[in-house]
Symmetry: C2
Subunit: 85 residues, 2 copies
């Protein structure tokens, strides 16, 4: 059960982490961020940072690994949104 749950958790971490990549690429290419909500990505960054801390507290590798990379990508989106408006 522990192994299976870790596999499911790691798959979840991989998906929610790589999910932000197409958005980062799309903004870098089009510089169009008009439709994006700054609030959404700012709150998301704060939430992902807390998931990372929660992962450390409960020693969950999927939470720690996924949310550290996910936070970087989400912060990229926040900064590009601020830059491109």
């Amino acid at each position: 059960m522990d192994t299976i749950s870790n596999i499911v958790g790691l798959a979840a971490a991989v998906l929610t982490t790589i999910a932000m990549a197409p958005q980062v690429v799309k903004i870098a290419r089009t510089k169009n961020t008009a439709g994006l909500s700054l609030q959404t990505f700012a709150i998301l960054s704060a939430g992902i940072a807390l998931w990372f801390v929660y992962g450390l507290m409960i020693s969950s590798l999927p939470l720690i690994a996924g949310n550290s990379i996910g936070l970087l990508l989400t912060l990229c989106i926040v900064f590009m949104k601020i830059k491109y408006g």
Copy 2:
């Protein structure tokens, strides 16, 4: 520690769940989804669904509660992106 970690996890869950709400409201109001990556929100939906399953497997209330609502909001964004292009 268990209480503190649950508080941190619940705060994380609340933030990443409510984060999607401003984006849903913004799209509903402007119908402008051109800058949004469909891939991002589709992959995110799949990932959030797996976090929900992982939460069930490790009996984590923050993961279960946050990701069930977060999945609904993210799917709203996916459907509006498909509708408005």
